[in-house]
Symmetry: C2
Subunit: 182 residues, 2 copies
């Protein structure tokens, strides 16, 4: 992603946070993480994150999704006895989140996924989160999500976060963003 | 505290959350925790909590303080190697929080503390948190806080929370609320 494109996206994300009534500092605003997952198709696929705190015990972030934007399927693996995998809770603050987890597939799910991304989505048990609703994922289980038509803001509370260890079902995904000069 | 008094306070706390733009579920609204710390003087001293998640790895809560309400000084002790004490991050969402921690006392602090509670406040290094600002407390260190004139809403992100183990400087404090029938 080019630097100017990223700056424009950061501004859009900031405006979604404003609509949600969530205040961030000027420094956090400048550092909103934009991850296009390597697809260069941010309107359809990617995620945006403001990390409030991430230490060796707990982590808190705000996830901000554009309308209908997909976060690809992944899991937070059990590495060893010292790192038993990230456990996380999603709490919807604004908008609507369609979360998909392991279990009986939901007939007629609400997600609308472009063909390009569909084949690597293998879990289809739907959890719809409206503002104030939350869901805690078991460790090391597959999940993916998509925002509703207005986008969404979701607070993520978790154990320590190590994004670089996430395992994505789609081998094309590159989780750590690469920003290029203009 | 009497049951009807508690219900009225819960409604006030819910209205502060609404002003802050924070949505909670009807069940959370019914279960807002009101802790008067045993003083039966909730306007001046106590705390109100909505616990979103508390498991053996992490915890997330919303703390809601009435205008100028004091949360008495306490620490989260190191119990043993399995329980090394709660670490916590306060992030102000709405209103203003005056937080006091160990360190060089701040001259002319903003807190206004009734005489009754003053003698058991021993740390006076002031941290003022406006919306979007946060502070992470080291484990097992003393702290206390007071809301500004409008009250405040503060997100608390932390390791697992065990309120019953908190150690208050003031021996009169009873952290776990006792609700009486009307």
């Amino acid at each position: 992603m080019k630097h100017t494109e990223m700056a424009m996206l950061q501004e859009r994300i900031y405006q979604i946070l404003r609509k949600a009534g969530i205040v961030i500092t000027p420094e956090e605003r400048e550092n909103i993480e934009i991850a296009d997952c390597g697809f260069d198709d941010i309107e359809n696929c990617g995620l945006q994150v403001v990390v409030y705190e991430n230490n060796d015990r707990y982590c808190a972030k705000e996830l901000i999704q554009l309308p209908r934007q997909l976060c690809p399927e992944h899991r937070h693996p059990w590495i060893d006895d010292m790192n038993i995998g990230k456990q996380e809770t999603f709490r919807c603050r604004w908008g609507e989140l369609y979360l998909y987890v392991e279990g009986e597939p939901t007939p007629d799910p609400k997600a609308q996924v472009p063909e390009k991304y569909r084949e690597y989505l293998t879990v289809w048990k739907e959890v719809v989160l409206q503002p104030g609703e939350q869901y805690t994922l078991p460790v090391d289980t597959k999940h993916w999500f998509q925002a509703g038509k207005d986008g969404c803001v979701v607070s993520e509370f978790s154990s320590a976060s190590t994004d670089e260890e996430d395992i994505f079902t789609d081998p094309r995904v590159r989780r750590i963003p690469k920003i290029e000069p203009d």
